[in-house]
Point group: C2
Chain length 331, copies 2
């Protein structure tokens, strides 16, 4: 069934699909604006991100539930990188003509499930017609405590870089979808790569625990890959950066896929975007506190992948030699 | 000159075009999220709105500066209707390939000028490529005081409806642009209609003053016209509504244009959207306080246009007779 439901009818549908707002939502969906009270005496972190059809996803590869999940995950990942606790989200949708109402429901359910599990209650948004692609614009807000938040700019030469989890999975998953490989021919770690591409998990707990313990000097989320994230921290902190090739934690599916497609796995891990892991800079004196806090941050574990240097530039150290670090991922 | 500047270069350009953040912006543009502290002990109102090329505007009719202004004005109008004081804004842009860099600058300047004059500091956003139309998604946040905010739902039968300013100007202005009339053939009030369509002024001060004085039972902004706004207040407040045709304040340009184009001016004022005036419901006992507060709210003045009724439905009273009130404006 294709629908020609108007904005009011879709908003009503959306309202019914989203329930049980948490106590800090004073007024939710349906009025001119929502009223939110993150925490008394705390600061509000706020960020916005867009997911655009045929730029960030293809509807033929990614189902509506995954698109809804991912749009929110991408925005929440920015809050994770600030050390903020999510409190509310807004979704602005531009829908192509004849967008099926079942897909609308699935999309909202994908969004709402993650909103609920991550305490990012959907409090409002906008629905408009699109003469072109499907567009999802998500704004998230969270609360942070005074002097307990992380920017990209606090690092210094001598700090070490740590990354959460493993890298390259989302890029490998995207490559699998692009090559239209038969998924029954893939093994389990490879199928995990597709799941990581479709439903990334923002590292909210890890970001929050590291920030609350003041256990890092800088942080960023790896939306555009490790090389880009490392460059951004180095640029904002006015120092250089070295990534150690041998230390980069590769997702097991990446190696399998690289073998199968006769590709080099390292670029997938360095420049493949959309893993949404976190990269932290940690000063030598914070090292112990960082490792203790990271344990409290739960799975996945963190891995040391490089260091910030006095010498400018961005470098890859491979078998004891420095070579220029490649560029990041551009959507 | 057409540009192929990447996201980083455009963000840097945007940062340079936006300066002097107010004191409640703890961390502005450029990191994973912004950190904002609206007011100690107050609540945060938050809203999002989209402006989509060929749905909400045409680039051949509306210059980039006006598009930037309007995208923010539309979002701020929702804060005005809540009685919130703007504090920060976020802009998510989807740019078609080859969008000229001069137009990008003009668009940002149009946005930034209104952000500055309305205290809605631009604190972040997103820039992505669009395979289709230009899309602007704006999120605004503002602060409200406890029990000093306005919803659509607080009105009761017997309350009177008041509207700010005059109506129909934006719809008449749009009709002038659509008919590609030579603007030198238009008189001054008609040219004002085009200006109102292109650069609406959100009624922030009026909304704030009415809310702080608890001088209304409900409020909404007239993004989709008077008929739609009146229906929305009536539906949310579970009562009926009557609009008195003879009292609807018409912009002087609307009558001139209606004469010129042999059209009926009343539908433009009732159902023409995008005036972004405010509609208030006022109880009989609030009437004096409302009129005193509205004076403090400054220009434009308010006009009584109707009433909420015990009988359900939405009605237009014309020459003593009731007829069904038409539908609102749909983008």
């Amino acid at each position: 069934m294709r629908t020609a439901l108007g904005e009011h009818a879709l908003l009503e549908r959306l309202r019914r699909l989203v329930r049980n707002p948490p106590p800090w939502i004073t007024l939710g969906i349906g009025d001119d604006a929502a009223i939110v009270e993150p925490d008394r005496g705390t600061l509000t972190a706020i960020s916005t991100d867009a997911l655009i059809e045929d730029v960030h996803f293809r509807r033929s590869w990614t189902g509506p539930g995954a698109i809804g999940h991912k749009a929110l995950a991408v925005a929440l990942s920015d809050l994770a990188a600030m050390g903020a606790a999510p409190r509310a989200s807004l979704l602005s949708l531009a829908l192509p003509a004849g967008f099926p109402v079942e897909e609308f429901d699935e999309l909202i359910q994908g969004f709402a499930a993650l909103a609920s599990s991550s305490s990012a209650a959907l409090v409002g948004g906008n629905i408009a017609r699109s003469p072109g692609p499907l567009v999802l614009d998500v704004t998230v807000m969270g609360s942070v405590r005074r002097r307990r938040w992380l920017t990209r700019a606090g690092a210094r030469a001598g700090d070490e870089l740590f990354v959460t989890g493993s890298l390259g999975a989302a890029a490998a998953g995207l490559a699998m979808l692009e090559s239209a490989v038969d998924s029954s021919a893939l093994d389990e770690p490879e199928r995990e790569c597709i799941a990581r591409y479709e439903r990334p998990e923002p590292r909210l707990r890890m970001g929050l625990v590291i920030a609350r313990n003041r256990a890092a000097t800088a942080a960023i989320d790896l939306s555009d890959g490790l090389a880009d994230g490392a460059r951004q921290i180095a640029a904002a902190s006015r120092c250089g950066v070295v990534i150690e090739a041998g230390r980069v934690p590769m997702h097991p599916g990446v190696g399998r896929w690289a073998q199968r497609s006769a590709a080099d796995p390292l670029p997938l891990a360095l420049s493949g975007g959309e893993d949404y892991e976190l990269l932290f800079a940690v000063s030598p004196r914070q090292r112990r506190a960082f490792e203790a806090a990271a344990k409290k941050g739960g799975k996945p574990a963190v891995t040391r992948v490089g260091r910030l240097s006095r010498e400018p530039g961005a470098w890859l150290e491979r078998e004891g030699r420095l070579e220029p670090l490649g560029e990041g991922f551009s959507h």
